[in-house]
Each structure stands twice: as structure tokens, then as C-alpha cells.
Amino acid sequence: MRGNNIMGIIFANLHENLISELTEVRIMGAVPFGGKYRLIDFPLSNMVNSGINKVGVITKSNYQSIMDHVGNGKAWDLSRKQGGLFILPPFTDKSEYSNRMTTLNSILPFLQNSTQEYVVISDCDTVCNIDFQDVCRKHLENDADITLVYKRDQVPEKLHDPTVLSFDAKGRVIDVLINGDFSGSCSYYMNMLFIKRELLMELVKKCISRNTLNFKRDIIQGEYKELNIYGYEFKGFSPQITSVADYFNANMALMKPEVRADLFNANRPIYTKVRDDMPTKYGLGSKVTNSLIANGCTIEGEVENCVLFKGVHIGKGTKVSNCVIMQDTKIGADSSLNYVIVDKDVVIKNERTLMGFLSYPVCISKGSVV
């Protein structure tokens, strides 16, 4: 059901430095993923599918591609009179977006003017299909002040300020470790939380007045003794993108039917900006195996274990294996690519050979000509 008492805040601008090859020309939320999506599509669709009507998207700079992508929010049903999509760039002379805390402080008026009782905050570094209604249910059951979404797994090596939680028998957070030496399976925070709007504003104001500006250290770690902070374990497919290799592996994981069934759950679809491409054309003599392919491609060569975005051309006699090839890239004839991530609008001419390796896929940046 739509129109519940929850609003969403998405940080579209964090974690770029972890995959700098892909964020030269865009922010994290605008990073293409999975053949037709951008990373922001996942938190945005998850919020909408959880009945959230009002979403603020935080962007600090270089937000042209995200603005272009989300537009007025129509594709997510967020072009609305009540609520809808709000892009929240900084006011140049008044706002400070230097970290999560100062950013939240800068958008206090937006929070103040909202009427929803609860706020879901999410970053764009995790690809998953999560039902925030369920998070809300658990939050209410636990009578929690804050609910942190976490995952039990090996902590990704390059995760920024990994935050590992310990719980008592009831699931209440009793210890928070940040940046420790984490090995083995841990319960680590997925940069998604559920909180009362009033409480969020209060905590932010308090931290700002004390000049304690680290969200994880000063709110999560600093308050867990006073506040009822609970965890919500998310068990579905949820790779966190902390490196180019993570990005590559998360794309490749989409070849598994169980991953697609989970991520592309037909009852909670992932929405994205529409482009009117025709269906993909498989030419005479083409050979395609184990690949995820979006509309608008023309394939005349051989494709195996690849993710092809909209409008990709693969020429005759060309073989692409283990590649992620983004929107409108054209690959000529008789070329060969293996373990390559090719950004948008790249032209790879005839008879070129590009090779990377599983642990180190080569990246070709947007608009290059090879």
C-alpha cells in the first residue's frame, strides 16, 4: 500500500573513491549496473515498493548524470503532488556537505517540513531488493529508536569504516566496532537505517552543537548505550560495491537464476529510466551464451558470460567474454575482449584485443576510442 508514514533519504554521492574508474564522470548513484540500471535504482525502487511516497536524493557535486537519470521521478511513480522526488543539492553558500552529519544538518529544513514519522536512510553502494516495510515492522515490534540493516558475511576488504555490530539475545545492539580487524563472518552494517524523523533531527543537532561529526562514531557508536538500537538482518542477494572487482562480480552474479529471482522479484520490480529501444537483434551467425542483455543491442559476433547494456553493438567475428559493456558502446568486427569493463559510448574498432583478469578487470572509460 502506498502513502505510509515513512520517507526516504538516499545518499547518492558517497563511496565514489572506491571505484574511481567508474566514477570519473558520475557519482555513485549514477553508476550503471546490470544491463539497464543505475545503482540508485535499487534504493529508490525499494523505497517505492515499500510504499514510501517521498524521497530526498542527496547529491553534492557532478550530479548532472543523476539528474538526467531520475528526472522528475516519473519512472519510479515519484512524480506526485503529495510527496514525490526531491533532489537535494547543497546551497552553495549556506550548506555544508562535507560528511554525512553536516549534510543531514544542511537538509534539516527538508526533514522539518516533512510530516512522515519515520525516515529510511540508504546509500547507493549496495545492490539489493529489500522490503523496508518489514524493517519497519521489526522496528515497531522491538520498540526501537534506530534499526540498522546488517548482513552476516565476511566484511568486504575495502569497505569504508566497516561497522560491526554485536547483539544481545533480543537483537539489541550491545557493541559497535568500527575499523577493527574483522575476519570471518561478522554482522556488518549495510549503510541503511530506520529511525524516527524527530529523533534523527534531534541527534544531528546535538552532534553539530558538540562538533562530533562522524555519523557512525557519534550516533551509532556513541548512542547505542542510551538508545534502543536494533539490528535487522538482510539475507537476500546484496553485494556491496567497494571495488572494481566487487562491481564486476556483482554484475556476473546476475547470471545465476536464484540471484535474478531475488533481485528482480516480480512483486517488487526494480524501476529505471525508460528508453525506447527496440528489442535486441541477434544476427545470423551470432552466438550468445550465459549473458544478460538489454534491449536495443545488435549482436553479430560471439558473446559469453557478459552483461550488455542498452544499445551495444557487437560486430561480426568479434568475441567478448566475461565483460560488462555499457550503454551504446560499439565494438567492431574481429575484435576480442576478455575481462573488460567498457563504459558508455566507447568505440572499439576492428581487430582490437583487450584482456584483463578476473581479479583485475580492465576498465575503458566513457567515450574512449580504442
Binding site: M278, T280, N295
Partner: protein, 405 residues
Amino acid sequence: MYPKQEVVAMLLAGGQGSRLGVLTQKLAKPAVPYGGKYRIIDFPLSNCVNSGIDAVGVLTQYQPLVLNEYIGTGQPWDLDSNSSGVSVLSPYQQVKGADWYSGTANAIYQNINYIDRYNPDYVVILSGDHIYKMDYSKMIADHKKNNADCTIAVIDVPLAEASRFGIMNTNPDGSIYEFEEKPAHPKSTNASMGIYVFSYDKLRKYLIEDEETEGSSHDFGKDILPKMLEDGLRMFAYQFQGYWKDVGTIDSLWESNMDLLDPNVPLDLTDESWKIYSRNPVVPPQYISEEAQVQNSLIADGCSISGSVDFSVLFSNVVVKPGAVVQDSIIMPGAVIEEGAVVQYAIVSENTVIGKNAVIGARPETIVDKDQWGIAVIGDNLKIGQGAKIAPKAMVSKDVEGVEE
């Protein structure tokens, strides 16, 4: 008060399309799926918006639910402007009573109010059963240049086929001196495409007169155009060059889909300058599995292919399971082809499940008596049982029981 529109388009979309059999049992012909993601009506609607026509009335009558829902606010075609855009016009009750649309001209007549409010200079009449890309603004420019009252788009057809069409016989300057409906001995090969541009003052007058004429069938081809010609109005033919296909029969619908697979057919849907817009389902990209074999086909997002697909058009969310074979066929959204099933020269409609090892249709070379051969058509939301055999040319509208193997 509506701002004046120089041109209003009226799209006749009420036809039943009975020759499409089970495909139009629950929807009007213009809503029939085409080309892996479109519906036929996407072509005239996209042509309108690409030609700069902002006011489009769509006349519906037969099974309008799917069509109405599909058109919606017109947003996918940018036809949701503040004071124009697309309007669905169905028959309605009036003070003097209620009438179905009794003919193409009557349908427009009943909606004179809709046209009047835009105070247009020209009205374009379109139909919703052709696949083509056409710039109507060029035709309108021609109409103005000729100072015409009516301009009819024509296309050159092979002489042998000319007797299936309305033929326009013209003078060297392009003016029409004779109009022959399906002539046995055609004098020319200028076939009418069913696309007319009228100067609205003339059209309005003739529609009202025709309505009062007893015995009239209220049809453009049979009544309005012959009367205009008889009265000596300035009528011109506009020669269209390019791909144009009537998809009113099973064979022509199948052929027109297959034309998309032929690089030599001049119908390019990838052309950025003349996009064909449609409503896009929210589905993930298509997945082609390890064991799949896909050749020379058009496949839409949301499909999951593990079998063999050759020379076929697959709409969104089609599933082809391992060992299944799909050849020379059209598979509409959500259909499932189970393991080992063989589908050849067939059209499988939406959400139908073809059971394991079932055999649908056949290749023409396997049939001795060619009269027995044709495209097999399976209706929507049906179940064809395991091992069942559906003969070529069959038209299936009910579930078919499986066969013990």
C-alpha cells in the same frame, strides 16, 4: 478555450480485425502486439508526435479495454500535453439517443465537437492497422502546396496485387480523376493507404451532408471520397515511399514481424530521428543461458532463453526452456515454451503455456498438400498439454489436453 491546433489527427481504432481470429478476440486490432515490444497503434501515434501533431483523437469501439489502458494519458508518446495530447473517443449517449459508430465517416461525424474545439485547418484521418513510418507533415505541406481539399496517401503496389486495394487514378499533376475500390482490371498501381488529409471546413461540410444522406454507409472510401470527387473538389494523391504493410491478416502480421529480421527490408526501428515509442514493461534485461542457441531473432527484455530460437520474434517475459525449439515464430509476452516443445511457423499469444514435447505448427517443406499449410495461431492464456500436436494453419482458442507419451 483550447488553443488552436493547425492539425488534428483522428485515428480510427475501432475495428474488430476479425481476420486475425483469436488474436483479436479480447482486444481491438490496433492493440495487437507487434515486433517484440510494440502494439500496432504505436506506429501511427509515434508518427503523429514525430510529425509535430499534438492533438490526436483515437476512436475506439470494439473491445476497448486493453487499448484504452494502453493509451492511458498518452505519456509514453509525449501526448500528454496541457491542452492537447491524445483523447480516447468512444461512442457515447447524446440527447437524441446513442449510436455505435456505424462507419468510418460516422465515427468522425460523431466527434465533430472534439475537432471543433481545436479550430484546426486540417484533419488527418489515420487507421490503426498498418506498420509504417511516415512524416505526415510532408503530406500536409503537399496538401497546402496543391491548395487541395483532400489529399490521399498512396503507395505503389505490384500490379498483380492492385485489385486488393482502393486504386487512385491520377493526372500528371497528381490530381485524382478516378477512384476505384478493388478493381478487377486496375488502371494504375497507386493504392490508397487509408491516410487522408482534409481541409477541415470541407470535411466538416461533407460529414454533415453524408450523415443526412439516406442509404449512405457513412464510410470514407465508399461515400465521402466519391462524393467529393463527383463534386469536383481538389483531390490529390501523395506518393509515399518506404515500408508500409497492412497487418490485418495472420499471414501479413507474421510476414511483417519477420521483415524486422531481414536487413534488406527498409523498416529501421533503431533510427534515433524517428523513434517508435511504446509503453515499456518494468522487467529486467533478457537472459540467454549456457545451453541456449539464438540466431537471427529479435528478443525483448525479461525473456529467459535456454532452448533454441531461430528466425523468431520474442516479446517480453517469454521463457524458452532447455531443449525447446522455436523457429520462424512470434511468441507474445509472458508465453512459456516448456522442455522439448517444438514451435514452428506459429504465433503464440500472451501468457500461453506450450507443454513439454508439444508440437505446434510445421515447416512448409514437410507438408505435401500446400493448402493444408499455414501459420498456426494459439490464443492467449491457454495451456497446450504435454505432447499435444497442433496442426499448421490451426487457430486454437481453447486449452488442449496433453497426450500420454
